[in-house]
């Protein structure tokens, strides 16, 4: 079966609810490209995920255009991870955070030698930010600065 087409379904939903139409970001121009500089087995990987994951003890995300970022140490106990989100069913993410924040499989791939290592911290946020400008001018620069500080060779991005 073909993949779900989310754009028309979400557009129809908004119309039905009387919201103003969501304008999707469409980038016709090709993205800039940075090749991987060394084999994966020598790379330090960074990660950012938008599933609303936080570690207990941190202030949870809120649900209205939250552009804040939580830094999660990559030696975190998986049992200390939590999930909060307005836009998807968090039942499975609360049962096993790895479905939106794949910390355990990545740690395993490091132990197995497939990856060189992980950054000392990963980064999470909420997503569902209505303004593309707030993403490009606030959230994306914050994440880019963190990845630079983390000294990562490649970045995995996990939306919901």
């Amino acid at each position: 079966m073909e993949p779900v087409e989310y754009i028309p379904r979400i557009r129809d939903n908004y119309a039905r609810l009387g919201y103003k139409p969501y304008s999707w970001v469409v980038n016709a121009d090709p993205p800039q490209w940075t090749p991987l500089a060394k084999p994966l087995s020598q790379c330090r990987l960074g990660l950012a995920a938008s599933g609303g994951v936080y570690a207990t003890g941190q202030v949870a995300f809120h649900h209205k255009d939250d552009t804040s970022v939580r830094d999660i140490p990559t030696d975190v106990d998986t049992g200390d991870l939590r999930a909060t989100h307005f836009a998807y069913d968090v039942t499975d993410a609360r049962r096993d955070p790895n479905v939106v924040f794949p910390i355990d499989p990545l740690r395993r791939l490091v132990r197995e030698g497939f990856l060189g290592g992980l950054a000392t911290r990963f980064h999470t946020f909420m997503g569902g930010i209505y303004s593309a400008r707030r993403v490009t001018e606030d959230l994306a620069p914050k994440l880019t600065a963190r990845f630079r500080e983390d000294g990562v060779d490649a970045v995995l991005l996990v939306p919901v």
Binding site: W24, V25, D29, P30, H62, H63
Partner: protein, 128 residues
Amino acid sequence: MGLVARQVEAAGIPTLCMTSALDITRAVHPPRAAFLDFPLGHTTGKPGEPELQRQILMEALTSFVSMSVPGSVKMLPYRWSADEDWKGKAFAEGDDRLPRRDTPQYQDEEDRGRAEGGGSPACPVCRS
């Protein structure tokens, strides 16, 4: 997330975007993507299936080496279920999203207590 990917990559760090929403990802056009045809909320696998999660991540991460054309999307070969009934239901029954409140939405009250009490003593880094 595609916007973040484009900006991080332009800053000189290679990126790979996981996705379960192929049309949205194609529109935003990140440098590299790996598509997993699962319901939203399962971008990197099924709960409680560590071997599947590992396979998915390994195959996706290989894109860093195998891809050479900007904007490529790797189609991962996994299905959520044999019948794929979930596809008919996604977003088809109206909006069941939660109201958008601008105060912290904790998973449980114990988390609120820990955060408001200054963080878990076991996890000082978590207080940021």
